[in-house]
Assembly symmetry: C2
């Protein structure tokens, strides 16, 4: 019999994610309803959300017209008449708060091998104030409407006409151009843009809307992050359900906890209190001004990118701190807790060695080395605050490894 | 009195090159005539050109309609009725053969500080057979006509409408994305494209021609090379004529010689026999199949890029060979022969240290360390063969340094 971890990792390596479309979440996500709001991380009771996730969920309820005021939304959420559920349970991942509601367009990434799909909302732009970072106000509202009503239809038409965009080659090229594909997506966005400007114009004509959409994509260096996240979810889920495998298929944060899932333990979350984010903050922001408010962009690390590919992205020193030598050490340490090296996604500085791929909870538990994660920092009161390095806590990996050895209580 | 080398380097550091336009060489280049053909390197008598430069010059004579057959062109060239002159004497640089004739469009890069200009023909595309690499045939002819009659007018209109493209920021971004700006211009081209697609479409409308031009730029990773070369010429010439300075203002090859100019020695060339190119060749090509046929893309090294910025471009291992460690050593060695570090053009791996900038012939002569140059390799019979590393010979630097100490015979 094959080693279950080999089976899981082979499935992930075989995955061939293609960006197919952008469609409203309610039409794309399994189990999604007009009264469901998805958010990052292992689920908490509504009353436990007190910071950015709470604000973003209330905002989404207003965005969807489910309530007229935050108080009314709070009441409906308390009574379970609006449901809050984890993105990951609906084939989806979200950035920071990860709030995803019915009418919000999600990027649809499909594995050409298995047909399995991963989803993520469209990148919201680089303004400090975003729903992503726990802010709901008029400018956030306007931008979400523009993404829904202008960007998504334009991009959808183009993607369907182009037959989709294969994403493995975009990631491959971007790793050769200084991206880690988590905190830095500058090259991936440029490569994606070079592929999409033609179909966008050909299918939509040249108009103010088209021009605005092209400008939005080409001027937002992190636009590709959410595409890569949907791809990461698509890839990781090809390993989900592999009996006996301790390969990590999700790492996610909510306001209170870091949590993981593994291939062999189904939908069960293994949770631990939040670790500390060692962040480089924008000018004038102090560490005490920041707070966790969720995050599932860690799906990039789950598929060998982000912190695991730190040695590909020395330019991140400017954005999230650290040193080139430290980045090399970070990536090198990750080979001890991963089961493979990706044959196409390779790191120039390491002589084109493949990125460390397929985190094994058992190897993490055994070595005590935990995943290094590149992450955005959020302002306590909402907004983007900077970026840095998160060292995952070991406990969830230990618990997941033990769960597979003993009887599964899930 | 200021040190002449400080004066020269300060001028080069102050240069602020802006891509202004694309116009026929005869309208842009000082001293250019309809019967002049420019080529790379220190000048040789017509009879001395025997390989790729000869073929390309004959091709240009046919392209311009100066002769009906190669034999007729040869005759006119032998009798001096068609003139062959160095690009560098006309504010211009050329890639490999560097052949530039009257109707060929040249990129016009202007220093916003001094108004000084540098020029270079438009990148010819990635086909192995090009005039650049010493080939003249029907497909080369067609592509040159397309560049002249379609691409150049489209790009010219857009550049004039946009008010030009400042190039320092493009180079800065590209160095952070794995380019050396000589053998690798993948990121610079992508960044340039992101800035130019809008003006190109807005000023020309969306048509087959526009679409073809956009595709040509975005699909040719080396498109920006010739823009950067024109910028390099513009920058280097801000130091030209600095009395007493041993700062290198040109390095160039012809079929037979490597040659340099310095800021303090005017138009005089200091020549040496050709060194060896340590190249990684395309599959199936042997070293004995290759030959030198000129080259002035070394202007990028003259302004701190290319081999001097090797540590920014680890992805080049795939294209031109070497190792990441070797690239770091290459750049580090160059600080011993340069007078400054560029404050904006910085290398992520070296903790964002500025590229070594301003090669001093005196430092080269004193240390024996010579510039390391990233270069394309050419097939003896014409065509692109690969790329590699050229170690400049020391003699021209010694001669230039001595010339400034003794009386100048030029």
């Amino acid at each position: 019999m094959s080693d279950p971890n080999d089976v899981a990792v082979r499935a992930m390596l075989a995955a061939t994610p293609v960006l197919r479309d952008v469609v409203p979440a309610v039409d794309a996500l399994p189990g999604m309803t007009p009264r469901t709001i998805l958010t990052s991380g292992a689920p908490l009771p509504w009353s436990a959300y007190s910071g950015g996730q709470r604000r973003a969920i209330l905002g989404a309820a207003l965005f969807e017209g489910l309530a007229g005021t935050p108080a009314e939304a709070d009441d409906l959420l308390s009574r379970g008449e609006i449901l809050v559920q984890p993105c990951h349970d609906h084939g989806c991942v979200g950035s920071v708060t990860g709030v995803t509601s019915a009418s919000m367009p999600v990027l649809v990434v499909e594995d050409a091998v298995t047909g399995r799909r991963g989803h993520c909302v469209v990148y919201e732009g680089s303004a400090r104030e975003r729903l992503t970072y726990g802010v709901w106000n008029e400018s956030v509202h306007r931008r979400l409407l523009w993404i829904r009503d202008v960007l998504a239809p334009v991009l959808s038409t183009a993607l369907r006409s182009a037959g989709g965009v294969p994403l493995r080659p975009v990631v491959r090229r971007a790793l050769g151009m200084g991206d880690d594909l988590h905190s830095r997506n500058t090259a991936a966005t440029a490569v994606f843009f070079q592929q999409m400007y033609g179909p966008i114009i050909e299918t939509n004509g040249w108009s103010d809307s088209t021009s605005d959409v092209l400008a939005f994509i080409s001027q937002n260096d992190l636009f590709f992050l959410h595409v890569g996240m949907a791809a990461g979810k698509c890839i990781a889920d090809t390993a989900s359900g592999t009996t006996g495998s301790t390969i990590v298929t999700a790492m996610a944060l909510n306001e209170k906890e870091f949590a993981i899932r593994t291939a062999g333990t189904g939908d069960r979350w293994f949770r631990a209190p939040l670790p500390t984010l060692d962040a480089k903050l924008f000018d004038g922001i102090r560490p005490e001004d920041t707070a966790f408010m969720g995050g599932e962009s860690l799906i990039t690390e789950t598929v060998g990118l982000g912190g695991l590919a730190a040695a590909a992205a020395f330019s991140l020193q400017d954005y999230s701190g650290g040193t080139a030598e430290g980045m090399v050490r970070t990536t090198e340490a990750m080979y001890a807790i991963t089961r493979a090296e990706h044959p196409e996604w390779r790191i120039p500085y390491l002589g084109f060695r493949g990125v460390p791929f397929g985190i094994d909870a058992q190897l993490v538990a055994r070595t005590g080395v935990t995943p290094r994660i590149h992450m955005g920092a959020a302002l306590r009161d909402g907004g983007h605050a900077g970026a840095g390095l998160l060292i995952a806590p070991v406990e969830p990996f230990q618990a997941a490894a033990s769960a597979l050895e003993g009887p599964d209580p899930a």
